[in-house]
Symmetry: C2
């Protein structure tokens, strides 16, 4: 298979996808060979199209095909509540719930000194600019419950204090459907701390 | 994210790859968005190129960019020994070993009555045609050690008997580096059956 350069090149490209090693990339490449030509063409076209058409929403930083994303454009949503998330995929997760009718702000990362990521490297300035006009009443910090996510939530909440804006954090506790027996100590401790009256 | 059709379409295409569900496809699509444009273009071009250039070798049935694949073309290899495998990826596995200097025959499947696959649905006729000129001395059956692979190996060996050609089967037994404690009974039984003198 030494000079099957075309397949090898495609396998290399597939390996650039997250979590894909040589074996998986090879399976993907062989699948492409077995595909209908039309499907493969469509696939190739979509890759280019995504690069061409998808950009970041100028308001919230989420993926968008227009200057402003559909969520920020939607006047039926509550624009006075902003849910702050780390990545665009977190927006997808919240939208799936369908309970939240506010808008989002995507930080594109969290503060992480170990990765040399400071407050200026994520979209915190843009968040403050959005809030300044006074129409926002609450900012919900929905970053991940890990060290970086917590640090980012606390940092932003301190910035918002002088602006007199309510800043909340999503509840942390035991997941629905999980087993208390297998929950880690930090989660159980949070679940106790944040217990609510019945 | 309702009308982000371009991303959704790409996610759908990624889901056509083997073993890729929605979540993984989404991660892949987001990776494409974050990629350099040149890398994405290269990726798209390779998908088309693979469809355009890769075909099956007319002799062995392996993937090839020419009418005849590099292995069948190579006159330094021993063309009198044919290793019969199920899929092109099995050729890659044997080539990695570097011990085998014979040639291959890719069946593109195994006999499997449950999947409605009979001897005429895989490249058995082509194998017999290759052998008929008398230059082949040995056929090594290297199909998988499962029901279909065994059935196919036995079927082909019976076809070859009247042609007076040596037909061998790759050894089955305990894998190198594995633990006898965890080996299944059939493997251990085969390992005992096929024991060799030290």
């Amino acid at each position: 298979m030494d000079n099957l350069l075309v397949i090898e090149k495609l396998i290399n490209s597939f390996q650039k996808l997250p979590g894909v090693g040589y074996k998986t990339a090879q399976r993907y490449a062989y699948k492409i060979i077995d595909m209908e030509r039309a499907d493969a063409e469509e696939f190739a076209r979509q890759i280019i199209e995504v690069k061409d058409k998808v950009r970041y929403c100028e308001i919230c930083g989420n993926f968008s095909e227009d200057v402003i994303c559909p969520i920020c454009k939607n006047q039926n949503r509550n624009h006075s509540i902003i849910c702050v998330v780390k990545d665009p995929k977190d927006v997808v997760a919240f939208e799936r719930v369908k309970d939240f009718d506010g808008v989002y702000h995507v930080l594109h990362g969290c503060i992480s000194p170990l990765d040399n990521k400071g407050p200026d490297d994520i979209r915190i300035k843009e968040l403050i600019d959005r809030i300044k006009d006074g129409s926002v009443t609450e900012v919900i910090m929905a970053t991940n419950p890990d060290v970086e996510g917590e640090a980012t939530a606390i940092y932003i909440s301190k910035l918002l204090k002088p602006l007199m804006i309510k800043c909340t954090r999503i509840a942390q506790g035991i997941s629905i459907g999980s087993d208390i027996e297998y929950a880690d100590e930090i989660t159980l401790s949070k679940a106790l701390d944040q217990r609510v009256e019945l």
